[in-house]
Subunit: 202 residues, 2 copies
Amino acid sequence: MTKNKIIVAALEEFAEHGYHAATIRNICRRAGVNIAAINYHFSGKAELYRQSLEMVFKLKPPLPCGEKIQSDSDLKSVLQDWIKTFLYRSNNKIIQENLLLKKIVHHEMLNPSEIFDELIETHLKPDVYSLESILRKGLPPDISEKEIKMRVFSILGNCVFYLFHERLVEKIWADGDFLEDNIEMVVDHITEQSLMGLKLIQ
Amino acid sequence: MTKNKIIVAALEEFAEHGYHAATIRNICRRAGVNIAAINYHFSGKAELYRQSLEMVFKLKPPLPCGEKIQSDSDLKSVLQDWIKTFLYRSNNKIIQENLLLKKIVHHEMLNPSEIFDELIETHLKPDVYSLESILRKGLPPDISEKEIKMRVFSILGNCVFYLFHERLVEKIWADGDFLEDNIEMVVDHITEQSLMGLKLIQ
DNA sequence: TAATGAATGAAACAACTGTTTGAATAAGGT
DNA sequence: ACCTTATTCAAACAGTTGTTTCATTCATTA
């Protein structure tokens, strides 16, 4: 089906070059269709972008939230689960669409199109709130908003660094794909460090 | 002087749109010079980019390294100094060139031009090594390379998150410029969390 | 089979890109 | 004054972009 072929090719192009730098001629060449197909099946480049993103949005697995925690001993495993899923689902080279989405999101972060806000609201915010609900279970109820947000940012910062700045990690580490080769170790490290912050305040 | 006007305008354009998306017509319009000036004073867009970066590279203040640490009590203050300087010098809105460089570096991270490697080697690696030398002072000498790199990545990840993904931080925090308004708190939080990781292993 | 509508294709459109040209101007030295 | 060099300018260059046009092909239904 032509429409599907275009979307797959578009995701690859958009992931590689971002929305603005991607060209419909490349997309069509990759999909093996005529240029006019873009304005026939979609109403232009913008609508193709939107529909491509909508397609891949639906594939993301859910993240655990604080409600999963019944006892204190659950805290570590649920937090670990969140971090692991967050890293895996964006770096899982088997499900290639997620790899593409990760790159597209990074492009949007730097050079946002009109879709950016929508993307944050429907995708990143729910993830962040579920992490926040997990952390709240390990913190006193009267903790300030700034403090809890800073703990969220710390975990998020670590994950985002490995996911988005793999090129930088690779240059510093200079020995293969660090996250790919040490993902269990990385997950444990982030979890431990976050838990230490929690323990101290309790 | 025409050449200087062009460089200033170019830095702004490159910071906003990245190397590829920036247009020399916009740069010239901003600088108030003719288009042909680019190929007269520089030899083209690429050389303009290179010279613009070289100019702003020289403005960056140095970061402290492990050699500054004489006693154990120095560790915290030197680490804090590194983090503070690293955040400040890229987010100091008084020295606008650094703000521009930060954005250009981010563009390079996602869509590297031929200059990228050079940029990493001469700029980011020295910073990272100085941080590494600080952390070594607080860790046993037989620590593994992976473990120390992971600690470096953790601090770097936190800093990079606030610097590069301010848009994301802003959306989640939804109440002004988080880093700008809480930079002391952020520096302390990152320092404390890193120190806890060090203490535990000693 | 004939007719209708959806899908495709080659070619052109206007607008943009980095670069080049060659003439006009400015500046400085003799 | 002159000559030489450095600098600026409007205009055009060839190439690319997203979009449109219109004739052609295909599939489906009457």
